[in-house]
């Protein structure tokens, strides 16, 4: 097998057993790797699809793709797929760094972990050898300390690990990957915590076999040339980081402010990428085989800290009415140290502040008073007092307070820092995303805001369903190959097919290539339907349908019904969002029909 390693490893933490499996080649051909392989393997290995996410039987699936660990630019990524404790959907998150190549180096395309260790454990894998090591000494250690410990102890290994929030099963806990990359969303860190798995370290010296080495090298050189020719991927992302989007979002009126009550923030420039770069000494960092180097480090009095990404600035800054860049950097740093998703953390605190503002809560936190937030983050991570309620996520918290309408989420995943009222395709993207409100399932920002490849009317609902589907399918492929979405800024879509063919030696007709994305998307949808999600869950909070935004968003609301009906139809689904039999046949998914149309005992 070329491109893939051809086998996966399944580890059971309960009895410390391991098994290696060879997968049929067609499974790779039909689902590629990463996200696609993750959802396929979840069906393959899970007896009970409705497994409670924090139950020992839930499965963690770390997966690489056929391009991982090759010379292809940005091929260092890996995914983690599981059932999310935050959303209850199938959920994959992917991160850069160097872990993916190390997993392949150990000889596996994917690593599956189930069960629960009796005590806090770290897992050490050197090719076929696994060690289960008690690590009570790492209990509640923040991520920075944990990283230092692991790096010093095992310098030849690549590591991922959780902070206190994961150990305490906070519903939006993260998994840290390497020194400064993160599996950020969906609370996947809590699933590691529920298994008493503090850290996972892996190494090996194996390499995937490449079908056409010369062609792969040529494609690499051509890709690097294009990435270098684009001012964005060659220098601007390195110079300003993703925070360069702050001023654009603000001017365009899509910057969440005060829990999305407003969409422009007067002091936005003060917390922009331009300002952070100008006022602080900072440096950049990159992942495996990546020329873009978008990660930012900021020098502070207390040492170097990760520069906040755009999303973190949006949710921890304007959405809480915070304009002090030092404060945002500090909150971002504390979230990283505790292992909290900055988006969901900002969202649940904004919800708390709005509850206070409206007199629905007697807590002192408000948009006008930011004292005590650092301590509140710790209370969330350790589930103390008010923190225990906040740790359940914004919708559960808002329900507890009697005002679910003030949680800014879809399927309990908090809405990122692009207001849907100002990008109607993005709005439909949040509504239909299989993992809840997410901006990474489809690159609608590129199309509706950045004008890539050409500008369209961002306020119109017309034609957005078909554009969105194309983007969702393409991004499902990128998440499965796996390459970084930032390459889309410089590379044409045909590149990815060329890369896949050169590495694997397989041929994919253009239509078949896109079907890969649709197949992955539909299998995720089948999972969500099987565990009970329905059309009623495909909706935004009332705020976005009834209240206008600021500036250019005056008079703008999201009208969902027509867009959603178009979307279901173009997907080949019925009016309730169930894939039609003919759709399942076209996508070679008929084996999964019983999960949604009955006939199989899966407790659904």
């Amino acid at each position: 097998m070329q491109g893939w390693m051809g086998k996966i490893l399944l580890i059971d933490l309960t009895n410390q057993k391991k098994n290696s499996y060879q997968l049929p080649p067609e499974l790779y051909h039909e689902f590629l790797g990463g996200r696609g392989l993750g959802v396929r393997l979840f069906f393959y290995f899970m007896d009970q699809l409705k497994v409670p996410p924090l139950n020992p039987d839930n499965l963690l699936i770390f997966a690489t793709g056929p391009l991982t660990a090759t010379v292809v630019p940005t091929s260092g990524r890996m995914t983690l797929t599981t059932r999310s404790p935050l959303t209850g959907t199938i959920f994959d998150s992917n991160a850069g760094g160097f872990f993916g190549p190390a997993l392949k180096g150990a000889g596996y395309d994917a690593l599956l972990i189930r069960g629960r260790a009796e005590k806090l454990t770290r897992l050490q894998i050197n090719e076929g050898e696994c060690q289960f090591i008690n690590c009570d000494d790492l209990k509640h250690r923040p991520t920075g300390d944990t990283w230092q410990y692991l790096k010093q102890k095992l310098p030849r290994y690549e590591h991922l690990y959780i902070g206190p929030a994961g150990e305490n099963k906070v519903k939006f806990a993260t998994v840290a990957v390497g020194k400064n990359r993160t599996l950020g969303r969906g609370g996947l860190g809590a699933v590691l915590g529920s298994k008493n798995l503090k850290a996972l370290s892996i190494t090996g010296s194996q390499e995937p076999e490449i079908a056409d080495y010369d062609k792969t090298e040529q494609i690499k050189e051509k890709s690097l040339t294009y990435l270098q020719e684009s001012s964005l991927t060659s220098s601007r992302l390195e110079d300003f980081g993703t925070a360069m989007l702050v001023n654009l979002s603000n001017e365009a009126g899509i910057l969440p402010t005060k829990n999305f009550q407003e969409t422009q923030f007067v002091q936005a420039d003060n917390i922009s990428g331009e300002q952070l770069t100008a006022s602080m000494e900072s440096s950049s960092g990159s992942c495996f085989n990546c020329p873009i180097a978008c990660a930012r480090k900021i020098a502070t009095d207390e040492g170097e800290k990760s520069g906040p990404e755009y999303e973190s600035i949006g949710l921890l800054g304007p959405n809480l009415a915070i304009s002090d860049p030092d404060k945002i950097t500090e909150l971002n740093h504390i979230c990283n140290e505790l292992g909290l998703d900055t988006i969901s953390t900002g969202s649940v605190i904004a919800c708390l502040m709005e509850l206070s503002e409206k007199g629905y809560s007697d807590h002192s936190f408000s948009f006008a008073d930011h004292s005590g937030l650092e301590n509140l983050l710790k209370k969330i991570a350790f589930r103390q007092g008010l923190g225990a309620s906040l740790a359940e996520g914004s919708l559960e918290f808002a329900r507890e307070m009697g005002h679910p309408e003030l949680a800014m989420q879809v399927k309990k995943l908090d809405i990122p820092a692009f207001d849907p009222r100002g990008m109607k395709g993005q709005a439909l993207g949040y509504i239909t995303s299989n993992r809840g409100a997410c901006h990474l399932r489809a690159s609608m920002l590129n199309i509706e805001m950045l004008g890539l490849p050409e500008r369209i009317d961002r306020f119109s609902e017309q034609g957005k369903a078909s554009l969105l589907i194309q983007q969702q399918d393409l991004n499902a492929i990128l998440d499965s190959l796996i390459v970084c979405k930032f390459t889309l800024f410089a590379l044409a879509e045909g590149f990815y097919r060329e890369m896949l063919e050169a590495v694997t030696g397989l041929e994919f007709a253009a239509a078949e290539f896109y079907l890969l994305g649709a197949r992955i998307w539909n299998l995720e949808k089948i999972y969500n339907l099987a565990v009970g999600f329905r059309k009623k869950d495909d909706t935004l909070p009332a705020r976005f349908k009834n209240e206008e935004g600021s500036g250019p968003l005056r008079g703008e609301v999201v009208v969902e019904e027509k867009m959603l009906a178009d979307y279901y139809q173009l997907r080949g689904w019925d009016s309730e969002g169930f894939p039609l039999q003919e759709t399942l046949e076209e996508l070679k998914l008929t084996d999964f029909s019983p999960y949604i149309y009955g006939g199989e005992d899966n407790e659904c």
Binding site: S231, N247, Y310, F489
Partner: protein, 80 residues
């Protein structure tokens, strides 16, 4: 209404500001008729002005401008 147009030069384009300012550059409205002339005023090559917003709305080079407008100009940017 102010007789001026306000221009914001983001994403590194502040290097074209006559005063080295990112925000709140001002031009007398009588000096320019459209976006293209705004770019010429600052000597910004059109291919460096990738996204242009007028009061938050995307516009083209030929779109006209008037006193009180806020124009924000960005190079090719991205992220998210």
């Amino acid at each position: 209404m102010s007789a001026e147009i306000i221009v914001n030069l983001y994403g590194g384009l502040e290097k074209y500001s006559l005063e080295g300012k990112r925000k709140d550059n001002r031009i007398k409205a009588s000096k320019v008729n459209n976006i293209e002339e705004v770019l010429q005023h600052f000597s910004i090559p059109p291919d460096e002005a990738n996204i242009i917003l007028l009061d938050g709305h995307h516009v083209d080079l030929s779109d006209s401008v008037k006193a009180g407008n806020v124009i924000s100009i960005f190079p090719l940017i991205g992220g998210g």
